[in-house]
């Protein structure tokens, strides 16, 4: 006899098959991924997870008998009350009986569930965006370890004893081995009390002593029953980042513009997630006043008012001072706006940015979202917006920030890549 240890063999023997399957079902999976991601918030946009595909496309057909109609014989176990000639009303849902005649593998699956890994999900999600290789790590990910619950084990530390599981095992063992119950013993004892000495009493006493012996032989809790809670080491992120999403929500921002902004934020978030295990999001919206809100309010509830960009920067600065010490946090900011700003505010905005915000930011991006470009007649030149002009002057004087215009969904990704590709040189100057 040979024993071969195959555990060390390279794993993932099925990987080639899995890739073939994903390629085969690519269009369906992609659709499913997009559907799934539409319902997700920014935070779990990239978490991978379970997908449901219609079975039709990945069906493997074979000749098999139909599940309905015709004359069928069922042979079933566990007859309780039926005799020959009994009529049984046909069970609901066609078929009849319990399908013991069913085809061997013909489980009438109508949908197919399976889990995509995070990377597979990302690849498909960014498929029409093509996430480039942005692997320039600027902050080393130092990790420590924390412990998480992971099932049960048969050995462990007494403090980790899983009482419930242990007692459950002990109970089933006691039932299986017919350990006498205390009530049984007590009942026997009581009966013996009432009896006169004689044949019957002796028999009962014998039984009692037999049962008592059994009680001793079969322990209430056996080492066999004992289970411990198991803990697995899970790496914990130390390096942390915070991402500020700033957006103008005044009346001039349309749903389309907000959608563009949201897509950009998602990309940035995913991008950051790849570097930092722990990324926090802060949403700041502004009109002529600014406030920190939750994601839902940020994207979905409209607000009215003028447009004063510096209020958002003030708010951001305040939040940083309150909660995110620049020495402990990597700070990223992305601002989306249609470019409007109250003319008198431009200078203040520029000052705030250069003196307060940019020095403590890892990265600052400004995204000017416009209407769908196609809507403009050909040859029509748009005048640069107030904000654009202000920022352009800053960038020209060497401020470490990036700015782009986006008019259509399909531009988001190129712009995103462009932003990061260009930043590499200047970014190092702004740690």
């Amino acid at each position: 006899m040979h024993i071969v240890d195959r555990r060390l063999n390279p794993g993932g023997k099925s990987l080639a098959n899995r890739q073939r399957f994903i390629r085969r079902a690519r269009s369906m999976i992609k659709k499913s991924v997009h559907e799934a991601s539409g319902g997700r918030s920014i935070k779990d946009a990239d978490s991978g997870g379970e997908l449901v595909l219609p079975a039709q496309g990945v069906r493997e057909p074979s000749f098999r008998r139909s599940a309905s109609g015709g004359i069928r014989d069922y042979l079933l176990p566990g007859n309780k009350e039926y005799t020959v000639g009994d009529e049984i009303p046909r069970p609901e849902g066609g078929g009849g009986g319990s399908g013991s005649d069913g085809s061997q593998d013909g489980n009438g699956e109508d949908e197919f569930r399976f889990a995509l890994s995070r990377d597979e999900f990302l690849e498909l999600f960014l498929d029409d965006l093509e996430l480039p290789d942005l692997a320039k790590r600027r902050v080393a990910n130092t990790e420590s370890v924390s412990y998480e619950r992971a099932g049960y084990s048969v050995s462990g530390n007494p403090t980790n004893l899983a009482l419930l599981r242990t007692v459950r095992n002990s109970l089933s063992r006691r039932i299986a081995l017919h350990r006498p119950k205390p009530e049984e013993l007590q009942a026997l004892r009581d009966e013996i009390e009432t009896l006169e000495p004689g044949e019957r009493r002796r028999a009962l006493e014998e039984e009692l002593s037999r049962k008592e012996r059994r009680t001793v032989l079969i322990p209430y809790i056996d080492p066999l029953d004992v289970r411990y809670k198991r803990f697995d080491a899970v790496p914990k992120a130390v390096a942390q980042a915070v991402m500020f999403c700033l957006m103008d929500v005044s009346g001039s921002m349309t749903e389309h513009m907000k959608d563009l902004a949201k897509r950009f934020y998602i990309l940035l978030y995913i991008f950051l997630k790849r570097r930092y295990k722990n990324v926090e999001l802060v949403f700041i919206r502004h009109t002529h006043t600014a406030s920190e809100v939750d994601e839902d309010t940020f994207f979905h509830s409209p607000d009215t008012g003028g447009t004063v960009v510096s209020t958002a920067l003030d708010e951001m600065q305040r939040t940083i001072a309150d909660r995110y010490d620049p020495s402990a946090w990597n700070i990223y900011a992305a601002q989306a706006s249609d470019g409007d700003n109250t003319a008198s505010d431009n200078e203040r905005t520029a000052n705030l940015l250069v003196n307060k915000i940019l020095p403590c930011c890892q990265y600052y991006a400004y995204l000017e979202v416009g209407r769908d470009i196609e809507h403009f007649p050909p040859g029509f030149m748009r005048r640069d917006s107030d904000l654009w002009q202000t920022y352009e002057a800053l960038v020209a004087s060497g401020a470490p920030m990036a700015m782009r215009k986006v008019g259509h969904r399909r531009d988001i990704y190129p712009v995103f890549r462009d932003l990061f590709a260009r930043k590499v040189g200047t970014e190092i100057a702004a740690p």
């Binding site: 794993g11 023997k13 008998r65 014989d73 042979l75 566990g78 039926y82 020959v84 049984i88």
Partner: protein
């Protein structure tokens, strides 16, 4: 369990095991299996694997190496999702009908489970594979691994030469027809998969040697015209009717390239290799379960298993042989482990202490004494259907409370035809045997004719039993594959087996470029 026997030291204590434990268990089990029970097995090879590898093995129908195809990836993805969600446990073992017999055991198993698995797979199944007549006749344990390696490499080579899509399209078609790719009746020549591989290599060499580009440009011979009246002759030449559809395609489909025929052949050989397993599920599992139960009990008697290990074994064993009643939520058909094990135990009982009823029903074996000899003979010479017909005893029928329900779609309710009583035994035995007959469980589909003189239409019949037609959507998809392989129209008639009336017709035309070549 007399205490006097408990002289030996236990093979192991506690749940932990190492390779020496496995070796010790194997040796102790072998002593009992071969020495006391007289089993005859292939040499064993035991491979220790992890969860991921078990899932891998699942998805390639349990084989250690296999060609690549998306459907295996699909099964892997689904099994993995189910496993991770905790909806499905993994098998403790997988055993392969090969020489040496390979059993996979999981590293997560406790020492007791490893002993159980070795007794079950490495001796129970192993003995069955080596001795059952179906396996002897249809499978080639010596050559299977080499053949699979050849198949994998050949498929890979085809993918490189002709593109993944073309190979995938062909394998899709092959897989769809896999259930109709076996010869049900043995032919004279024995299977030898090593020869298969050699044959293919030689044929290719020959092709390469005689290849001469000149001949490509020579105008072909005018098509030979067959006498249209000689229907019988034509059918004889084409060996019609043919029930092995893939074989028929491989040999006669006019438009397939040689490599495509070879791929069909590979699919067919694999189907043929698994053919006996479908016919002996009940007996195979019954045999293995009976063997492991005997061996573990015996080990415990000898003192080689601790009481704790024995309890753990019994717990797992009772789970395996549990048969829920028909009205139980857990019911999903008759559990082959439960029925098989019960029947094997019953046969042993009949041999050793028969009742009057047993003597009446089983005069040949009742009271014969040597139960193992009787069982070994049964394991060698029966398949599920004949085994049930012969050995399903009234006692088992009563024990399981088996009853027969007739479901006629034309009548408003179901009717109980037989129950576990004197009058019903025969009926129940026959009905159950029929369920295990592959002739009943897979639809009877045959290629009956080809319109050679006309439009080369392929005519296929489904002989409809009990008025149960084919599942229409699936049938259409499969017929589409068939038409793609054939290259011309395919007509399927669903013909009632008793009246010869045509109940339904499907006609399918091949898709252009469906096979990608």
């Amino acid at each position: 369990m007399s205490a006097t026997l408990k002289t030996e030291r236990p093979l192991f204590e506690g749940a932990d095991w190492e390779f020496s434990t496995v070796q010790k268990c194997h040796d102790a089990i072998q002593e009992i299996a071969v020495g006391e029970m007289g089993l005859d097995v292939y040499p064993n090879q035991i491979e220790v694997i992890g969860t991921e590898q078990m899932l891998d093995a699942y998805s390639s129908i349990g084989m250690p190496l296999f060609y690549k195809h998306w459907s295996f990836g699909k099964h892997f993805a689904r099994d993995e999702a189910m496993y991770r969600a905790g909806m499905q446990g993994l098998a403790y073992e997988i055993v392969i009908n090969s020489n040496p017999c390979i059993s996979y055991i999981m590293e997560e198993n406790s020492a007791t489970m490893q002993a159980l698995v070795i007794a079950h797979a490495a001796f129970g199944h192993n003995h069955f594979f080596k001795n059952n007549y179906l396996f002897k006749q249809w499978t080639d344990a010596d050559g299977i691994l080499d053949y699979l390696e050849f198949a994998r490499d050949y498929v890979l080579e085809c993918e490189e030469k002709y593109g993944e899509t073309a190979v995938e399209a062909l394998l899709d078609a092959g897989h769809a027809l896999m259930s109709h790719a076996v010869h049900r009746y043995p032919r004279a020549r024995a299977t030898n998969l090593r020869m298969e591989e050699k044959r293919e290599r030689e044929r290719r060499q020959h092709d390469e040697q005689v290849f001469n580009d000149l001949w490509r440009t020579v105008p072909g011979q005018a098509a030979v015209r067959l006498d249209p009246t000689a229907l019988e002759r034509r059918r004889a030449i084409l060996q019609l009717p043919a029930e092995n559809i893939l074989y028929f395609m491989e040999k006669t489909a006019p438009r397939l390239a040689p490599w495509q025929r070879e791929l069909l052949r590979i699919v067919r050989q694999v189907a043929q290799y698994f053919y006996p397993q479908g016919q002996t599920k009940l007996m195979n599992e019954g045999c293995a379960t009976f063997v492991h139960y005997k061996i573990m009990t015996r080990l415990h008697e000898q003192g080689k298993l601790t009481d704790g290990a024995m309890v753990e074994f019994l717990r797992s064993h009772t789970n395996v042989v549990f048969q829920p009643d028909y009205d139980d939520r857990r019911y999903s058909g008759i559990n082959p482990y439960a029925l098989g094990f019960a029947m094997m135990q019953d046969i042993e009982r009949i041999c050793i202490e028969p009742t009057a009823e047993d003597v009446q029903y089983f005069p040949d074996i009742a009271g014969k004494g040597n139960a193992m000899a009787v069982l070994r003979d049964i394991w060698a010479n029966y398949r599920d259907e004949s085994f049930i017909l012969q050995f399903l005893s009234p006692r088992i029928i009563r024990h399981f409370g088996l009853f027969h329900v007739l479901d006629d779609a034309d009548s408003p309710s179901l009717r109980v035809r037989a129950i576990h009583d004197e009058l019903g035994y025969r009926n129940i035995k026959r009905t159950l045997a029929k369920q295990y007959d592959v002739g009943w469980s897979t639809p009877d589909i045959q290629v009956v004719d080809v319109d050679l003189a006309g439009d080369r239409k392929l005519i296929v019949h489904h002989r409809v039993l009990n008025k149960i037609l084919l599942e229409e959507n699936d049938a259409k998809l499969v017929l589409q594959h068939l038409a793609d392989l054939w290259g011309y129209d395919v007509l399927m008639k669903e013909v009632d087996a008793t009246t010869d009336a045509v109940l339904k017709e499907h006609i399918v035309s091949p898709r252009a470029g469906a096979l990608g070549a």
